[in-house]
Amino acid sequence: MAAVLTVDPRSGVPIYLQIIEQIKRSVALGVLQVGEQLPTVKQLAIDLTVNPNTVARAYRELERDAVIETAPGRGSFVRGDGMAQSPRAAAADIARTAFDAALREAKSVGLTRDEAQELIEAALDRWFQE
């Protein structure tokens, strides 16, 4: 588990958000399975050399988003009940963020809706050809 997580402290993206994104991504990709135990806050802090409170903040948000659950005294686990986000929904989340960023850039450099649509169609043909 620790091996799949890395943080880039020099990035402008807050460390707790980097941890959240990577755990969501790991769940989406099935690297982290439903019911699987996460490292303790203390252990992950030591593994990543980041402040324990920063890891705790990431875990709290992941709990709020129903990605993980914490059983006092037992640790944190990837949620498996109906509330949990399905891996497909998590994958869609990741893609949606990327689309948003790309389209925002397209709009800001002055593309019209039709021009953006054309680019999207071309990209779809490239990446989803049968």
Binding site: V7, P9, R10, S11, G12, V13, P14, I15, Y16, L17, K42, A45, I46, T49, V50, N51, P52, N53, T54, R57, E105, S108, V109, G110
Partner: protein, 304 residues
């Protein structure tokens, strides 16, 4: 209650304020980074915290109480400059520390020295700057102290040993202890510290959670089609803390509301509007030297 509270600390040298109405609070179980240019007053602050210098006014509290002789058992300090006795061996320093502090664990100190690659039989005068730092760090972290005051605790160390010191600090925080450290290596502070304070000319110029500072502080950039543009008062928004305007390019340092301000810039006619993230070095530079900071951010963006 915070483990460490510095309240309105002031230290005057004649007419000059080395520390000027400086306050901060370090929570228990946290690593706290103290940043500032040379001469900002960091070392003077550490010395006032330890009673090595008498503050002109203000006070320092540990768990809500002022420093008393018994507190010293609970505080470990790594000074910026070597305080080792040149003619004594490292082993003799361990023995001396053992006699002075009842909670000191000599076995732990030896273990740390092995990890840092420092031989106990060496005399202090034969040690490099980095090895001296390593000895002081090993003695401090073997003290079983609840409060660690570390003034440049990685000075002269190689990257592997620098990371080792950071790991030791994280371990202490995970045990519920409090670490206040200063460093010119902003990348280290960025990685290990939960909160930071930036000092400049003795004053507190910026304080906060590193992650929140990064989430709030952004550069909003836009390019106008020609030189005759107006910002429609955007630059007067209280969240815009610094504005750079060249002929057609506008860069706004914002503290919160980046997306909204980006939309307003686009409505004012700017194209290529984008929101740039800032790392802690950028945020630090904006706090102490905005002109340098802008040049830095722009250079980084152009090269990426």
């Amino acid at each position: 209650m915070s483990a460490i509270q510095i309240l309105n600390l002031r230290k005057m040298y004649g007419p000059l304020a080395a520390v000027d109405d400086f306050s901060l609070e370090v929570p228990a179980g946290s690593v706290y980074g103290l940043l500032g240019p040379n001469g900002a007053g960091k070392t003077t602050t550490f010395k006032c915290m330890l009673g090595l210098l008498r503050p002109t006014s203000g006070e320092v509290l540990y768990d809500g109480k002022p420093l008393v002789p018994q507190t010293f058992e609970r505080i470990a300090y790594v000074p910026e400059r070597s305080v080792l006795y040149e003619w004594m061996t490292v082993a003799e320093h361990i023995e001396m520390t053992r006699r002075a502090f009842s909670r000191f664990d000599p076995a732990r100190a030896r273990e740390l020295l092995v990890q840092f690659g420092v031989e106990e039989r060496r005399r202090a005068r034969a040690l490099s700057k980095g090895m001296r730092t390593a000895v002081m760090v090993a003695l401090a972290f073997a003290r079983n102290a609840e409060i660690l005051l570390l003034d440049e605790p990685t000075g002269g160390l190689d990257p592997v040993n620098q990371r080792h010191v950071l790991s030791l600090m994280i371990n202490e925080a995970a045990k519920g202890n409090s670490v206040l450290f200063s460093s010119h290596q902003i990348g280290q502070v960025e990685r290990a510290a939960e909160r930071i304070a930036v000092m400049d000319h003795g004053r507190l110029v910026l304080e906060g959670l590193v992650d929140d500072l990064k989430a709030d502080r952004k550069i909003v950039e836009g390019v106008f089609p020609d030189v005759s543009y107006t910002l429609d008062g955007i630059a007067n928004d209280p969240r815009v803390t610094h504005a750079d305007r060249t002929e057609r390019i506008v860069r706004l340092l914002v503290n919160g509301g980046a997306d909204e301000i980006a939309s307003r810039l686009a409505r004012a006619g700017a194209t290529g509007v984008r929101v740039l993230d800032l790392n802690l070095e950028d945020i630090f530079l904006y706090a102490v030297s905005p002109e340098t900071a802008t040049a830095d951010v722009v250079a980084k963006e152009s090269s990426s």
